[in-house]
Assembly symmetry: C2
Homo-oligomer: 150 residues x 2
DNA sequence: GCCATGTAGATGATGCGTCATCTACTGGTG
DNA sequence: CACCAGTAGATGACGCATCATCTACATGGC
């Protein structure tokens, strides 16, 4: 890795601004969600994906694919969520190794209660400051970067 | 927080793409840095800021302001870095409550060794896929969002 | 000089994320 | 059927992040 192509000053500024924005924004969103509903962003994501399928039930590997999380992160997280009564695990008849994650009533109540405040916060902290062109450009940019990450 | 303004589909897509990009990108950067140099992104940031001042010495509260970290996060992190020999803490003569964080020789070696590979990875995973206009737009966007976060 | 308030920093508890590793089952090939 | 490679998932150890709380010193008003 000798003599790398360093970042020029435009890139430096953009990179620092991006890092700072993402750090602060994530922190704020997490804090709001935690304070108002006792959920973490991670909990929220899991619950959203579970409620997307109306049975409220998914195989962990599907959840993993959807969320793009590490397998062990998901497994640990589900254990914590299970301990708090947000989800349960059930056996999977088709595949003896497998399992189902199922959202509980309490999980449904939690996500239902949390969603409005969270969405409102995302809007207020993020989208309200941006034009539609900026939003479109961001989607583009994220897609371009993601393409190269595989 | 009744009847929030939900996100429309453009916003939804942009938001999901952003979240996914940032999660995967951060993970990749962290992994590369960790694997190639034994540093975390957080270590890297701290060391960069310390080497920016050529004495290699800062008051924790300055570091905190620069990094925009929570105070206790910084304190815990410095403790871990100290344990690994990357920094030391010294007393502050001017202010009896205060302290200095000082980068060690080992800290300097670590950041010097880590920087080229890290920068190269940032370039490869991020900037190489983007046009200069996209980079400029991102800086703008991040600045706009940051303005509203205070 | 004394007290109130504020600021610098550390610490313990707890939840989150990653890595390495383990178990158990599946499914294909001989 | 026996075997083996692969896949689903769990777990322990350890570093990271946050919250609440604590100590100690600084500083301004009386």
């Amino acid at each position: 890795m000798n003599s790398p192509r360093w970042l020029d000053s435009d890139e430096q500024r953009a990179w620092r601004a991006y890092l700072r924005m993402q750090g602060r924004l994530t922190a704020r969103l997490n804090r709001q969600l935690q304070a108002d509903s006792g959920l973490s962003l991670a909990d929220y994501e899991v619950l959203v994906h579970l409620t997307d399928r109306e049975e409220g039930r998914l195989r962990p590997y599907e959840l993993q694919r959807d969320l793009q999380w590490e397998q062990s992160r998901l497994s640990h997280h589900l254990t914590r969520m299970q301990r708090r009564g947000l989800v349960t695990r059930e056996e999977c008849a088709d595949d003896g190794r497998g399992a189902y994650v199922v959202i509980t009533e309490e999980g449904r109540r939690a996500i239902t209660a949390a969603a409005p405040g969270h969405v409102e916060t995302v809007r207020r902290l993020f989208f309200d400051g941006l034009t539609r062109e900026q939003v479109a450009a961001l989607e583009r940019l994220a897609a371009d970067v993601l393409d190269r990450l595989d």
